[in-house]
Every structure is written in structure tokens, then in C-alpha cells.
């Protein structure tokens, strides 16, 4: 049964606080911090993009997994900020981790859930014996239109997961997965547009909550598990508030979601978000613990997973840096002007 052989993440060093963005638009930082449940967000350096973030996460995943990069038979990179419109990020990753050339690769796009869609594809490919290992990555340097509410949350980061079949090598087994998909116009970006557009309040009820709760309920029904069977739960986190509300609706406690809730300290990393949350949870989890993960991508859809942690997690854990250490080490705070310069909002 397919499982997680290893994982790695990357979050840029730069941070901008809610206060600093609110200062520019003359908004009340306290009500935004409370309303969105977020303190600050990560910002990519001028020389980082979705590809460089994917590569850093992928290199850490290879080290954590302890596999030969040439044994990776498929690489999928999910992002809505691929640096090229045509020229796959996955090819850059495969070269940068020295995976060789005998592999299949492609870029995926499904707003914030392309990384978990890649995970499902790799489960099928590894269970069928088509590949030994596969890598799925969610990586983004997302942008919010200046002055838009999304500007407080749209951030940068990524996570890479290596999937394979051998239970003895898996830090966690993926027990089951289901998806729920519909044509819902909550958030979009047209080809060539610099910033995404969204349906305002419409993004909540019919989009995020409908898909996340339906997919999660479908998974619980299919597996026979109850919310209390899971030690941890990770829900997609476009802000700090939605996942808390979704957990409540579904009967999960705050304690179950706390460790996987990173948006309050790094912002919404889009394709990276639910996978970064899962990585943070796996950093802490013990053998036997069950983890529920439900992603969400606008447009819209959710993938839900039931995962069980295996013994080898303790041994592999010593090989790599913890997600929280990567987030907290070397934070560099910047002001709005430097933020604009990093995002090419002002040019020389």
C-alpha cells in the first residue's frame, strides 16, 4: 500500500507583518489579525520562485527519504506560479536533484491542491508497480493584488513528498483517499494576468467549506473512522480562520489541528499549504498515530487522505531539519517598500 517514504519543505527567510501592510492601506491591523487569524507571512527573495522553492524542498525530501534520486520515476510539481508558462518546473527539479533522465515529469495546476492531486497520481503509479518512487511537490510564490484582502495572506513556500509502495521504508502509510470536485468560480486568474481575481464572500461557504467538509465526510464514511480516531488533522489554510471553522463543523478539536496550522506564522503558501501542514505534523507524530489531511483548490475541489504513521519515522527524523526550525531560523523582517521591490512591484 502506498506510503510516504520521505518529505522536505522550504520557506523563504523574509517576513512581512500584518501591521506593515495595514499601515500602507490605513486599515486596523488588530481587526485583520483577528479576522484572518494571521500574524505575518513569508515573502520570497528577489531570486526565489516556485522552481527554486520546489528544488530546496525536493533536495531535503531526498535526504529525508534516504533514496537514490535516480530511483524516482515520476516528478509532479503543483503550483499556480510556475515561472514559465511553457517549460515545466518539474524538469528543473529533476535536473537539480540529479534524478537522471529515465523518468516521467509534469507540472500540475489546481489552485492550492495540485500537490495533493500529484500525491494521488503517485499512489496509483507506485501501487501498480509502474514506478518505484515518485515525488510530488506543492510550491508557490503567490501574489495578492495590492490593497486586496489576499495581500495579507498570499505567501511563499513549498513541500515535497516522496511516495512509494514498501511499508518498511514508509514513514507513514496512506490508508485511503477520496476527492470531491465541482465547477465553482470562487477564485481564478486568466492567462497573462498578474494577480488573481476572486468572488469575495463567495469564496467561503460554497467553495472552501462545501468542498473541505464534503470530502472529509466522504473519507470518514469510506474508512469507517471517526474524528476522534485521528491524533492530528490538517485542513487547507487560506487564512488562519477557515481551517479552525472547518474543524469545528466536522467535529475535530483545536488540539487536533494546532500542529498542522502554519498559516498564522507563514501565510497561505497555496499549493504548499496542506503539504507543509502535513510535514509539520509528521515531524511530531509517533508510530501508530493517524493523520487526516484535506486539501482545497479553488475552482474547486478537495482531496482527503487518511494516513497512519509507521515505526521508521523515528529513525528518518534524525536526518533532516524540522519544519518549525526551517520556518523560525533566520527570519528577516522587511517593510512594504522592500516587499514591493522583491515582488518586482517597483523597478530600477
Amino acid at each position: 500500500m502506498a506510503g510516504i517514504i520521505g518529505y522536505g519543505v522550504h520557506v523563504p527567510h523574509y517576513r512581512i507583518k500584518v501591521e506593515e501592510i495595514a499601515r500602507i492601506w490605513n486599515e486596523d491591523p488588530e481587526s485583520i489579525k483577528k479576522g484572518l487569524h494571521i500574524k505575518e507571512k513569508s515573502v520570497p527573495s528577489h531570486d526565489e520562485d516556485a522552481a527554486t522553492i520546489a528544488v530546496e524542498a525536493a533536495r531535503r525530501a531526498v535526504k529525508h527519504a534516504g533514496v537514490k534520486a535516480t530511483d524516482i520515476g515520476a516528478i509532479y510539481v503543483g503550483s499556480e506560479s510556475h515561472p514559465y508558462a511553457v517549460k515545466p518546473t518539474a524538469t528543473i527539479v529533476s535536473q537539480a536533484i540529479s534524478a537522471g533522465h529515465n523518468l516521467t515529469a509534469a507540472d500540475l495546476e489546481f489552485a492550492c491542491k495540485a500537490g495533493t492531486a500529484g500525491m494521488q497520481m503517485l499512489m496509483g503509479m507506485s501501487d501498480s508497480g509502474m514506478i518505484k518512487y515518485g515525488m510530488t511537490i506543492g510550491s508557490d510564490t503567490s501574489q495578492g493584488r495590492p490593497g486586496d484582502a489576499l495581500e495579507y495572506t498570499a505567501s511563499a513556500g513549498g513541500a515535497a513528498f516522496i511516495i512509494g509502495k514498501e511499508k518498511s521504508e514508509s514513514v507513514a502509510t496512506i490508508l485511503d483517499t477520496v476527492s470531491f470536485t465541482s465547477d465553482t468560480p470562487d477564485f481564478w486568474r486568466r492567462e497573462g494576468a498578474d494577480f488573481p481575481s476572486h468572488g469575495g464572500r463567495f469564496t467561503g461557504e460554497p467553495a472552501y467549506f462545501r468542498h473541505v467538509t464534503t470530502a472529509t465526510k466522504m473519507l470518514l464514511e469510506k474508512t469507517g473512522f471517526k474524528p476522534s480516531d485521528f491524533k492530528y488533522a490538517v485542513f487547507h489554510q487560506p487564512n488562519g480562520k477557515f481551517p479552525i471553522a472547518a474543524a469545528k463543523l466536522l467535529g475535530f478539536s483545536q488540539e487536533q489541528i494546532d500542529d498542522g496550522l502554519l498559516t498564522p506564522i507563514i501565510g497561505n503558501t497555496y499549493s504548499g499549504a496542506s503539504l507543509l501542514g502535513l510535514a509539520a505534523v509528521l515531524d511530531k507524530a509517533s508510530p501508530g498515530d493517524k493523520v487526516l489531511v484535506t486539501s482545497f483548490g479553488s475552482g474547486a475541489g478537495s482531496d482527503s487522505f487518511a494516513i497512519e504513521v509507521n515505526d521508521i519515522i523515528n529513525e528518518k527524523r534524525t536526518r533532516s531539519e524540522k519544519v518549525l526550525d526551517i520556518i523560525n531560523n533566520g527570519k528577516l523582517y522587511i517593510d512594504y517598500a522592500m516587499y514591493l521591490k522583491n515582488r518586482k512591484g517597483i523597478r530600477k
Partner: protein, 131 residues
């Protein structure tokens, strides 16, 4: 305009993964790659060698007046890194909140080096991050 595809493609291994060469005859290490060993001449037996990407700052300078291609990056720091395996490598230093001085430990990171104008290619390259 002629694109730089061919030269970029040839250099990917060295730019992405610090792949240089090792002379199997005398064990000398080279980055960038050499075809002929400085010690061995015709006895050279070169093979590829991937460097770990860890080392320390041997010397550095801050560039305030950059080449045109890096005009928006200035000021930035360029250093000579002494790799743990021995060879000296020139590289850009990225900010990590750690002090940049002679002897500072660094690790390689993967970054954009250059973005060609007129919808050209994006050039990715190793840089070094103080740890």
C-alpha cells in the same frame, strides 16, 4: 535575438549541482571542470565529481556598482568559498540573517541568477547561504 539555450544546457550540471572533476590518477579536485589535470598532463584520468556544497567564506566583497544584468540586485555580496573538499569557488551570498565574514560556514542553495530580458530564459544557479 539569439537565445543562450545551448551554452546554458551544457553548464546545467555545474550550475545546479556543483559538478566538477576529479583526476583519478592523483586525486586532484577541480571546480569548474578541467579536461587536463594540472599535475598529470597526459596521464590525466578525469571523472565527474559532485561537491557537497558546504564550505566556508575565504574572502568576500560587496558589489555596489553591478553589471547591467544585476542592477536590481545591488548591493549584493560575492565571495570566494573554500569547499570542504578543497577547491575554491566563486559565488553569490544570499541573506540568511547570519553574519558574513571570513570563516563563516555556508551551504549551497538553488536560486535564480539571471532573468533574460525580452521573454528569454531564466538562469538558475547555485549560491551560498551562511548557516
Amino acid at each position: 535575438m539569439e537565445r543562450s539555450s545551448a551554452s546554458m544546457w551544457r553548464k546545467l550540471n555545474s550550475r545546479y549541482n556543483l559538478v566538477g572533476t576529479e583526476c583519478e590518477n592523483c586525486k586532484s579536485l577541480y571546480f569548474p571542470s578541467r579536461i587536463v589535470c594540472k599535475n598529470c598532463g597526459r596521464q590525466t584520468k578525469m571523472r565527474n565529481k559532485t561537491f557537497a556544497g558546504t564550505g566556508e567564506i575565504y574572502s568576500f566583497t560587496k558589489i555596489h556598482v553591478p553589471a547591467e544584468a544585476f542592477r536590481e540586485d545591488a548591493p549584493y555580496t560575492v565571495a570566494v568559498i573554500k569547499l570542504d573538499e578543497g577547491p575554491m569557488v566563486e559565488g553569490h551570498i544570499v541573506e540568511s540573517g547570519k553574519e558574513v565574514k571570513i570563516g563563516t560556514r555556508v551551504r549551497q542553495v538553488f536560486r535564480k541568477m539571471l532573468v533574460e530580458e525580452d521573454e528569454g530564459l531564466i538562469h538558475y544557479h547555485f549560491k551560498f547561504e551562511p548557516v
